[in-house]
Amino acid sequence: MARAVSTRRKSFNTAAAWSVAMLLFFPILWTILTSFKPEPQAVASPPVFLGFDWTWQNYIDVNQQRDYLRFFLNSVIIAVGSTLLGLVIAIPAAWSMAFVPGRRTKDLLMWMLSTKMMPAVGVLVPIYLIFKTLGLLDSRTGLVIVLTLMNLPIIVWMLYTYFKEIPGEILEAARMDGAGLKDEILYVLTPMAVPGIASTLLLNIILAWNEAFWTINLTVTDAAPLTKFITSFSSPQGLFYAKLSAASTMAIAPILILGWFSQKQLVRGLTFGAVK
């Protein structure tokens, strides 16, 4: 859209965009700043912005008290595992919804989305009991399963929108060329949908990484990911804001870095393919 926009208008827009961005980023910035403050200054009132005594002590303490690497590995396994498993299930599902829709396909999609509208805590007890019976509590397998289930509707929806953009005639051509269902998905659909699949993958890794409800409630120590790492510092014996902030910063750093390097893909992913 080439529209003439005056310079004044442009600078106003830029300023507005920066303000909104700063507003959204401020909590993260504050967390990072707090993580470098000595504990008393972290809770000082009025708050100190930059003029505090910068220290690495919180990070040293946090690492002495907990094994960061173990939590980190659990997070990676759970986030990547549940996303990959979700994709394996969702690609054929989205394929059939996009290319051989039945009369109820639209309803099915809406229903899948509607499951996301229910608060997770509503099914905590049954899922907890099922996991207990199956011995899945505090296991990575259990968390991979539960996060796959939680994010599956979004994965299917995203893939469905991407697949919808692929002309059906190309898949029909593949069928005429002798491709079976598996070949069609493997050699034609998936390569064509790579950008969409990549966006879905990234977004879901982030969602799964940040997922706090199930990861906190279904783990104790063995499978505990970084979300648990953070909460373990908000202990009832007193709040240690600076240490909590240091833990939070360490927990979000990997995903921030991942997000930074994959910005372009992510924007495409978040706009559900609207930006070409």
Partner: protein
């Protein structure tokens, strides 16, 4: 071999009967063209033969074998789509090789066939490009290349030239005809362009609202249209169809005379006034208004100078009047 038989083939989408019942026999090596107005079911019929749509009822046989329930991949047919439907992520070479890869052909043989197809279609220097880097005509050639390497029992074309500009369309039309000459493989070609139909077909199938109106060679259809629909559809410009007292005088409900079979003569039976004149150079088409009749189109040679408002009298050539009954059926 590519002999295809349709028996009572029906197709409905929900409530709508798109193909209410078609019987058709296509001989091995024939070039068959499906023509008809937009929405008459040409593509649907082709897709039924391809296996991309399931028949609602009826039977499709390929070389005498029942293929009604076979998936497209197992029918041994190749299709060229209007949109070309090339794989955008593969090079031209990979595109053409894809069906061979699916058939599990060994690499050397596949390479040989691709090279051969590329040579026939003048694609040799483009083999490493992506479809996005080709012109419309080149893409069409790749789509044809992808179809011929498999050596299918029959080729199915769905309006393959309609996205090309006029000059290229004439070229590709001749190339496809030549390809048919060389391969002698059955081809089924869908178009709504009756010039394509007349010039390419061994056999034309005229469809209207999902029904076959007539099957025959281009000249058969031109000389002896079975009904008013075919009479009006085949031939350009359209045959003049005349109803009313003039038709009754010939003991018919409708009579038809092609523009090229009407002549301007002195004291002809039909007197009228020249309206619009279209000069194509070689020919001129005149609209002539005759009292008590539908406006007539006539063809005269290009040099003939007639102007708006000139009075002329017309006569049909002897034996060139087609007679139709009240149902539109041709009368002997």
């Amino acid at each position: 071999m590519g002999q295809i038989t349709l028996k009572e083939v029906r197709k409905s989408f929900g409530e709508v009967d798109v193909i209410p019942g078609v019987d058709l026999r296509i001989e091995d090596g024939e070039f068959v063209v499906f023509v008809g107005p937009s929405g008459c079911g040409k593509s649907t019929l082709l897709r039924l033969i391809a296996g991309l749509e399931d028949t609602t009822s009826g039977r499709i046989e390929i070389d005498g074998q029942d293929a009604t329930r076979l998936p497209p991949a197992r029918r041994g047919l190749a299709m060229v789509f209007q949109s070309y439907a090339l794989y955008p992520h593969m090079s031209v070479k990979k595109n053409i090789m894809f069906p061979l890869k699916m058939a599990g052909l060994d690499r050397d043989e596949a390479e040989r066939r691709v090279a051969n197809a590329a040579r026939i279609l003048n694609l040799t220097s483009y083999l490493d490009r992506r479809p996005g880097q080709l012109s419309g005509g080149q893409r069409q050639r790749v789509a044809i290349g992808r179809a011929i390497v498999r050596e299918p029992a029959a080729f199915l074309f769905d309006e393959p030239l309609s996205n090309l500009e006029a000059a290229l369309r004439v070229n590709m039309r001749q190339e496809i005809s030549e390809l048919h000459q060389n391969l002698q493989t059955t081809m089924i070609y869908v178009t709504h362009d009756q010039v394509e139909a007349m010039t390419m077909a061994d056999k034309i199938v005229v469809l209207n609202a999902g029904r076959i109106e007539q099957v025959g060679s281009p000249l058969d259809l031109y000389r002896a249209p079975a009904n008013t629909f075919v009479a009006g559809f085949i031939g350009s410009p359209k045959m003049n169809l005349i109803t009313g007292p003039e038709a009754a005088r010939h003991h018919a409900a409708t009579i038809g005379v092609r523009p090229e079979h009407l002549e301007i003569v002195e004291n002809g039976p039909w007197a009228g006034t020249v309206g619009l004149a279209e000069h194509l150079g070689s020919d001129t088409f005149l609209k002539v208004t005759v009292a008590g009749m539908e406006p007539l189109t006539i063809r005269v040679t290009g040099e003939r100078q007639l102007r708006h408002g000139d009075r002329v009298t017309l006569a049909p050539q002897a034996g060139k009047i087609h007679r139709f009954d009240a149902d539109g059926k041709a009368m002997a």
